[in-house]
């Protein structure tokens, strides 16, 4: 982790979505980091999306948590590592001693590296003796995990990205891949371009950007995917069933068809899904008649109280046709996070053990305990995310350690999560930044390493293990998450945490995967990377991306189940009966609309990293509520203005927009804004906390809401070189600019003395400050620019309506070290003075007529005396003092003509 004097390129992987793109990072001599796609990485083949490309912009120490901190009587103070870790270790030990191991919990993240995750899981399940370790992957992936386990006997993604290129039909369900998995989407788009016969069907309530390449878009009614795939299963049973596969490799088809039958006829399914029956039939026929089908799914499927059933309904369709494990076909779970998969491999969920061992399998528990040499192994599932935070509020869990995630923003019923942490005796947060909603509730803050600083492995959606490598030195006293946890474990007297490097942890993890795997009377686990154990540090550092299983060195596995053998004890896959059922909370009465949530293209999670980039802020700078224009009309809200979105659980405020391709009855909000970036846009507060009974995944995509105008008397924005306290605005959003911060504002209280108000708002106390302003008191318009040494320092624009000048030109003025005098008034106009026609030096000052204007008038109209010039241009028509000049211009024109 040393800064090299000579720029060297470090191969690593992107820390955002589950595609897991390879990144080449080069640290220049000035410390700037150049980012490029790694052409050698199999997942991305050199591609990077806009978020990945902007990684360099998100680095740097601004806003970072650089030292351990303790909160005492409400205020934070820096502490030494010893003091902070002693406090964590003693706090956990005390709670365990007084209330038992179920009274402590870890809440971790798909942002952790596999090695961090491994240590966290070992710490909780092997040493604390509780399975109370859950992860934000619960919010994203757990329905897929549950579906995989039910169908295959193990959490397995059978295919690989190449299948998208080899398929003849790709069905994207609940996936806006164009925005959320952009490089994979580009791979699909290119395949479609090269092979137009490749058909693409998008199943999504919204007409998203992904639909650009779709041959068919099925705008299903939210929450009806099981109807859709149950109907498909019935159709396939009649038209495309692979009887020998069903008979030879599966069980339960009859029950599944029986359950699927409850979805009804094609017409009934179409009605339930609110689809055109002709489109539905077209889809069923297409699926039925195409052998090579990949059905890729993501949050639109997973984040549902029927999430696991949706996954199984999809898998059922692949089992009945035997289209699995072979090139160009199979169900494909696209993971949201960079290392959700790695977390699953080490058992980072409350209902799993490490290395795909099962909590309810006593033999595997024993094997694990033997391998670890730990005092015990948790015997019952721990609390899943939503339940965990309920237990915290109920006082059952008294100490929680949160790592690399921001649950006060990302959990459903996020205000409940806040109440929970406020009641919790000990809240520890490991993070890379200081200012997050969650950190505000923590008693101990531990500075962790961020991307580019930490070292380890991640696994992407296609089971590809890649190295994330460090190319920056640790900022401040930050440490790796595994290192922090090992230190706490040792302080608690736990053995087995003497790791010196990520490499050592990975080795143990690899050895465990092969440990009693299919031997000693144990079930055979497909997750086996025994072939990666025993590597030297140098081998580990040089590890090329590889898809597991890797049973022997050099092996790699692109696809699983091609042999028709599944991970259940009998080797057969299970059809899981999926009876269609409606979402937990239905719209109606007070809450007539259904809120759907999701990502936007250029932001990631709660914006603690992407929010630092000006480039990424430009695409969608503000939280918004997308809705159908007719619904907007009914709710009395207007595009561009603010609306309050209220559910039974909470309320947020966002700007209304149309054009998100949403049907009537549904609305959409992005998930990214937190209390740090907006006053009232933590969408988690509105989301209902109902969870899938099998997977525990919350129903983020379906919350009944009501929308009403958020009345304000003014709209405005500020661009400022410094951060500002915004006490005077009823609503604000913070947007990162290049050399400034932008605040979008709206207010309720009319401002009386604008000049003083604006100075307070911009935090300017110097009476002699260089201050330019315009004011239209009755029109409710006020604009002010504060300059320092001829350079713009801040500006404020306020109006009664939302039609304020574009921010882009003003933003460009922050690049100028010295403004031209002519720029000053343009600043207030909010745009560059249009060049127009140069009228030349003024001749007639009464009417402001320039020399060139007069010359042109003389020429074009053949004017021959001063009176004619006056009649034509007004010049000379008042005081007449310029008539001699006009006469000489006339004379010159005559000479020129002669």
């Amino acid at each position: 982790m040393k800064l090299s004097a000579i720029p060297t390129t470090v191969k690593t992987t992107c820390p955002y979505c589950g595609v897991g793109c390879g990144v080449n990072a080069q640290v220049g001599q000035d410390g700037a980091v150049a980012i490029a796609g790694d052409a050698a990485h199999p997942a991305s083949q050199g591609r990077l999306c806009v978020k990945g490309s902007a990684l360099g912009e998100t680095l740097g120490n601004r806003g970072r948590l650089l030292a351990p901190m303790l909160r005492e009587e409400g205020t934070l103070r820096e502490a030494s590592w010893d003091e902070a870790l002693d406090k964590v270790a003693a706090g956990f030990a005390r709670v365990i001693a007084e209330h038992g191991p179920e009274a402590v919990a870890l809440y971790v993240s798909g942002q952790l590296l596999t090695e961090d995750y491994y240590v966290a899981n070992k710490f909780m399940k092997g040493y604390v003796g509780s399975a109370n370790i859950d992860t934000n992957s619960r919010l994203c992936m757990s329905s897929a995990v549950a579906g995989h386990k039910r169908a295959f006997g193990e959490d397995i993604v059978p295919g690989c990205y190449e299948d998208f290129e080899q398929a003849d039909l790709i069905v994207l369900v609940g996936s806006n891949a164009a925005w959320c998995h952009p490089t994979l989407y580009q791979r699909i788009a290119r395949a479609k371009q090269e092979r137009p016969e490749l058909k693409i069907v998008v199943v999504d309530p919204r007409r998203t950007a992904t639909c650009d390449i779709a041959d068919l878009h099925l705008p299903v009614k939210p929450g009806t995917d099981v109807w859709l795939f149950d109907g498909l299963l019935g159709h396939l049973a009649a038209h495309a069933a692979d009887d020998s596969f069903i008979e030879g490799h599966t069980t339960g088809v009859a029950d599944a068809l029986d359950a699927a039958g409850k979805a009804g006829s094609l017409a009934e399914v179409a009605k339930a899904c609110r689809l055109d029956p002709r489109d539905l039939e077209r889809f069923y026929d297409l699926f039925s008649n195409t052998e090579r089908v990949v059905t890729a799914f993501t949050m639109g499927v997973n984040q549902s109280t029927a999430g696991a059933d949706k996954v199984n309904a999809i898998i059922n369709c692949h089992l009945i046709t035997g289209r699995i494990g072979r090139p160009g076909m199979g169900p494909f779970s696209l993971t949201g996070q960079p290392n959700a998969m790695g977390g699953r491999e080490v058992g980072g969920l409350a209902n799993m053990l490490a290395a795909h061992m099962d909590l309810d399998d006593a033999a595997q528990r024993a094997a694990l305990q033997e391998f670890w040499g730990s005092p015990h192994v948790a015997a019952k599932p721990g609390l899943k995310a939503v339940d965990l935070f309920r237990a915290i509020e109920d006082g059952k869990v008294k100490a929680v350690w949160i790592m690399a995630t921001n649950p006060l923003v990302s959990l459903p019923d996020a205000d409940q999560a806040r109440r929970a942490l406020e009641k919790c005796e000990l809240v520890v947060a490991s993070d890379i930044v200081l200012g997050t909603d969650t950190n505000e509730a923590a008693h101990v803050l531990l500075p962790a390493l961020g991307w580019g600083e930490k070292d380890g492995t991640v696994t992407n959606s296609e089971r590809c293990i890649s190295r994330q490598r460090a190319f920056l030195s640790a900022p401040g006293s930050a440490r790796a998450d595994w290192d922090i946890m090992c230190d706490v474990a040792r302080r608690m007297g736990f053995k087995g945490f003497d790791f010196q490097s990520a490499h050592e942890i990975f080795d143990e993890h690899a050895r465990l995967s092969a440990w009693k795997n299919g031997t000693d009377g144990q079930r055979r686990r497909l997750f086996d990377i025994g072939g990666l154990s025993g590597m030297t540090r140098a081998d580990y550092d040089a590890l090329d991306p590889v898809q597991w299983p890797v049973r022997t060195p050099g092996e790699r596995t692109e696809r699983l189940f091609g042999d028709g053998r599944f991970a259940h004890g009998d080797g057969r896959a299970r059809f899981v009966p999926t009876v269609p059922r409606a979402p937990a909370h239905l719209p109606g009465g007070e809450y007539p609309l259904v809120l759907n949530t999701g990502r936007v293209r250029d932001q990631w999670h709660t914006m603690t990293r992407t929010g630092r980039s000006q480039k990424l802020a430009e695409h969608i700078p503000e939280p918004y509520i997308d809705m159908h224009p007719q619904d907007a009309l009914l709710c009395g809200v207007k595009a561009g203005e603010l609306a309050r979105v209220t559910s039974d659980w909470g309320a947020v405020v966002a700007r209304v927009q149309h054009g998100g391709g949403i049907a009537r009855g549904s609305v959409f909000m992005p998930i990214h804004w937190s209390g740090q970036t907006a006053s009232d846009a933590r969408v988690g507060t509105v989301v209902n906390p109902a969870v899938d009974p099998v997977s525990g995944e919350p129903e983020f995509k379906h919350t009944p809401v009501r929308i009403e105008p958020f009345g304000v008397t003014w709209f405005g924005f500020i661009l400022s070189r410094t951060e500002l306290p915004l006490r005077e605005a009823a609503n604000w959003t913070r947007v990162q600019g290049k050399d400034f911060v932008r605040y979008e504002l709206a207010g309720r209280k009319p401002f009386a003395a604008a000049h003083d108000w604006a100075r307070r708002l911009l935090d300017v106390h110097d009476d002699d400050a260089d201050w330019i302003e315009v004011e239209d008191k009755n029109g409710g318009m006020y604009r002010a620019v504060h300059l320092v040494d001829g350079r713009i320092e801040a500006c404020l624009f306020v109006a009664q309506r939302t039609d304020l000048p574009a921010r882009t030109w003003l933003a460009s003025m922050f690049d100028k070290e010295q403004l031209e005098p002519a720029d000053r008034l343009s600043l207030l106009a909010g745009r560059a003075k249009e060049p127009g026609i140069d009228p030349g030096p003024t001749v007639c000052s009464c009417f402001g007529v320039g020399r060139k204007t007069i010359e042109i008038a003389i020429r074009e109209n053949n004017l021959c005396d001063a009176a004619a010039v006056t009649a034509c241009t007004k010049a000379g028509g008042n005081c007449g003092s310029c008539i001699p000049e006009i006469r000489s211009l006339l004379a010159e024109a005559q000479v020129a003509e002669a």
């Binding site: 300059l787 005098p821 106009a829 003075k833 127009g836 009464c846 402001g848 005081c879 003092s881």
Partner: protein
């Protein structure tokens, strides 16, 4: 052959001669025209006396009509021979030289006289107005001797005089009875910027000063204010306003109030007698700026020409200070009041101030300081009574914005 009717014009200034020019355009051969002028010159542009004083223009530059022009148009000019009496009964005017000329139509364009504040000492040598070429000559002569000048009156004319004297090398103080300069045309913030700028150029500005006496033995030496303060002066220029020059009309029994009362056709109470320019009162208004006088000339000429379909309508006026380096524009109603709304732009460091007065979605006034490029545009919007509600937010940033 039918004899042409006689038109006699009293006053060889801008208003009278513009009316004659307009008349000649409409009916070149209708009248036999005789013009009497008090000054011994042809017709000149009085507005440009300031640049002459400042040395930017010569007297020749500002001449409007030469004697040749009068001859060419068959006009009899009696320059330097003021009219002393009008005999309306006999329809004859009598000049100082004893010349008597009968008229069928009479046009009175006697203009105005500087208001000489009637304080003790106002008749001392060295106390002058700023009205005509001879005043300018007096000032230039005084300036050649150097010394100190006091200009009484901080309006448009006073500031132009002060600037001219300063340019001619005198030490100049401007004394103004009000608290802000050009209070007819500027609001206090603009006046304050103007004061600062003029002081920077070297003018001494004395506001809120009531002059009580002009002192000196053989000629002016000091000016004394109410509070006893005095300033030295080798020359005192009275620029505290003008008074319509109506003695002649009054003596002739024409109805006058503050000035000669005319109707919308510029006709006085005597149907044979018209009047234009600074000597007239239309409705309640008298006039000092050139734009409305040009309008009056057009209307009066039309009626004299017998094609009497025009009416004189008072319009908003605009003023600019003709002091090089000071950009200042004022138009329309700058006071505002009940129901009017202000749009204001302030850039103190940049030396720019703009205030637009809006009433009922129409621009009614504009005060511009430092950046006057859009003045004519605003003036146009005021005159056209354009509905500005759709461009209200952009208005202050000018036409190009």
């Amino acid at each position: 052959m039918k004899t042409h009717p006689r038109l006699v014009v009293i006053g060889n200034g801008m208003a009278g001669m513009r009316t004659v020019e307009e008349l000649l355009k409409l009916a070149p051969d209708m009248y036999r025209i005789t013009v009497f002028g008090a000054e011994p010159h042809g017709n000149y542009n009085r507005i440009l006396l300031s640049p002459v004083l400042a040395g930017e223009k010569t007297v020749d530059d500002i001449m409007l009509n030469t004697r040749e022009w009068y001859d060419a148009n068959g006009i009899t000019l009696h320059a330097g021979d003021p009219v002393v009496r009008i005999d309306r009964k006999k329809r004859v005017v009598h000049a100082a030289s004893g010349l008597a000329v009968p008229y069928d139509r009479l046009l009175i364009a006697t203009g105005s006289k500087p208001f000489i504040v009637p304080v003790p000492g106002h008749q001392l040598p060295g106390v002058i107005g700023f009205r005509d070429i001879s005043d300018v000559d007096t000032m230039l002569e005084a300036a050649r001797a150097g010394g100190k000048a006091v200009v009484i009156g901080g309006g448009l004319l006073g500031l132009e005089a002060a600037n001219g004297l300063l340019r001619q090398g005198m030490e100049v103080a401007v004394v103004h009875v009000m608290g802000s300069l050009m209070n007819q045309q500027l609001d206090p913030p603009a006046a304050e910027l103007l004061r600062a700028s003029l002081e920077q150029r070297g003018l001494r500005i004395l506001l809120n000063r009531q002059t009580v006496a002009i002192e000196g033995e053989d000629r002016v030496r000091t000016v004394r204010f109410e509070d006893g303060e005095t300033v030295d002066a080798d020359l005192v220029v009275m620029a505290a306003g003008v008074r319509p020059n109506v003695e002649l009309a009054k003596a002739a029994g024409l109805h006058c109030e503050r000035a000669i009362v005319v109707d919308d056709t510029l006709q006085t109470y005597d149907p044979r007698v018209y009047a234009v320019g600074e000597c007239v009162q239309h409705r309640r208004a008298t006039f000092g700026l050139v734009a409305p006088i040009w309008d009056q000339a057009r209307v009066a000429a039309a009626h004299l020409a017998g094609s009497g379909h025009r009416r004189y309508v008072q319009q908003a006026t605009a003023t600019k200070l003709k002091v090089t380096g000071v950009d200042l524009y004022s138009a329309g109603d700058i006071v505002g009041g009940e129901g009017s709304e202000d749009l204001v732009l302030r850039d103190r460091r940049g030396g720019i101030y703009k205030r637009l007065v809006v009433a009922g979605n129409r621009l009614t006034g504009a005060v511009l300081y430092g950046d006057v490029a859009d003045g004519p545009w605003y003036f146009d919007l005021i005159q056209q009574r354009t509905d500005i509600s759709s461009i209200r937010d952009q208005l202050l940033f000018g036409r190009a914005a």
